[in-house]
């Protein structure tokens, strides 16, 4: 499979990338790690006229602690996140989730920024960033703006970013001491989750239980009132709208959400 014709352009700075998208708008698409975009282009589900490769932007490849937050550059790869010492100490959940995305080869290329902007409801990192109340930092022609994860995922593959904006950074609060859990069920080892659950402290988010990653509000409310892991997990499917497909009916997904939520809560230290 070969993508439709496009013009490839490599940029060497964020400013250069911004100038390129300002000039070309909707005709252009930004290429980060390419592990979701290139398969879509090969299937001709996406056919941008101009592909702007952010690959050389090492300025967006970092993890650093800044006060009570951890700043992660958008071009930081899953492999980097999985092996990062700062994350291991202050946000082990993110390091763990990044280490379970796709496979070794995909993790060597895929980036956190690419995953978040792609906004696939079946992806792991968006749900993890949602669970920890992360903030996404975007740069555009009018400067920088910060968008809470809760406002960022608007629909399947839909975010509030304008074509001329670029996600530069993700900021997450330091998770010191907070229990966490992550469970996902896939058909094959490397596959997208049929359903996944991320628990960070008493926050719970669900993968692939609707058009966006979702916070399991009913579970969180029950936990706040002192419910056990089993009691709270029984409410995991409340308010969700999981897809009904040949290989996973909506009822099956709801069942999985309850089972996996209980396991993730137990991992996080909720009894």
């Amino acid at each position: 499979m070969i993508p439709a014709r496009f013009t490839y352009r490599r940029v060497s700075s964020v400013d250069e990338a911004l100038a390129a998208v300002a000039e070309h708008g909707d005709d252009a698409k930004l290429l980060a790690g390419g592990q979701s975009l290139l398969p879509l282009m090969k299937l001709r589900f996406a056919a941008p006229e101009l592909l702007i490769d952010l690959g050389p932007l090492d300025e967006l490849r970092y993890v650093r602690r800044e006060g009570d937050e951890i700043a992660v550059g958008a071009m930081t790869r899953y492999h980097d996140l999985h092996h990062d010492a700062v994350l291991a100490e202050h946000a082990p959940l993110l390091a763990h989730v990044a280490g379970s995305v796709g496979d070794q080869q995909v993790r060597h290329r895929g980036t956190i920024g690419g995953s978040l902007v792609h906004a696939d409801p079946a992806a792991d990192l968006p749900a993890a960033v949602l669970a920890v109340d992360g903030v996404l930092v975007a740069r555009g022609p009018d400067g920088e703006r910060r968008i809470p994860a809760a406002e960022f995922f608007q629909g399947p593959f839909e975010t509030p970013l304008a074509p001329e904006e670029l996600l530069t950074e993700v900021r997450v609060p330091v998770q010191d001491g907070a229990g966490w859990g992550f469970e996902k069920f896939t058909r094959r080892a490397i596959d997208w989750a049929i359903v996944g659950v991320v628990v960070a402290g008493r926050a719970v988010s669900l993968i692939n239980m609707g058009g966006t990653p979702l916070r399991a509000s009913a579970v969180e409310a029950a936990l706040a009132e002192g419910a056990s892991a089993a009691e709270a997990a029984a409410l995991a499917a409340e308010g969700t709208s999981p897809a009904d497909e040949a290989h996973a009916t909506s009822e099956y997904r709801e069942h999985l959400a309850r089972v996996l939520t209980e396991r993730a809560l137990v991992s996080a230290g909720v009894s």
């Binding site: 070969i2 490599r10 090969k42 080869q105």
Partner: protein, 156 residues
């Protein structure tokens, strides 16, 4: 566009379409056909090569993205004098292949795995190779081969 990639120590420069995939560049421009196109959907790993020393699926990287970078394919693993790479030798010793179509990708992924984790457990080998599919389902000997290559005990 003109793409120049150092492949196995030799720079290959060719004029290609912007949409050319790395796997096609390796096979058609560089003439190195150990790298196979299996599923062509980032699933099977038959096209795995090392890009700047890290395993990647070359059906999901543009040749243009590798421009100015360093690629290693299976052909580049042999040492001077033609000695097999320790991972290749281990695959032979443990019979870590059946039809062999997946083998180049398995070996490249194993090299990358051992580079990051020189003494993996059997489970870590299985996790590390999850992106490489063997449709003969010969995984057991492949895990043995990686354990052998890492100098660890092999389960019979």
């Amino acid at each position: 566009m003109k793409v120049s990639i150092e492949i196995n120590g030799t720079t290959v420069s060719e004029e290609v379409e912007d949409r050319t995939l790395l796997v096609h560049f390796v096979r058609e421009q560089a003439g190195l056909t150990a790298t196979n196109i299996g599923c062509d959907t980032t699933s099977c790993g038959a096209c795995t090569v090392l890009l700047d020393g890290e395993s990647v699926k070359s059906c999901t990287v543009l040749a243009a993205q590798a421009d100015g970078h360093r690629v290693t394919t299976l052909e580049g693993l042999r040492g001077e004098g033609g000695d097999l790479h320790p991972v290749q030798r281990a695959f032979r010793e443990e019979h870590g292949l059946q039809c062999g179509f997946c083998t180049p990708g398995m070996i490249m992924a194993s090299v990358s795995l051992l580079d990051h984790n020189p003494k993996p457990t059997r489970q870590e080998v299985r996790d590390g190779l999850e992106g490489n599919l063997c449709r003969c389902t010969g995984y057991h000997n492949i895990v043995n081969a990686v354990m052998n290559a890492s100098g660890q005990e092999v389960q019979r």
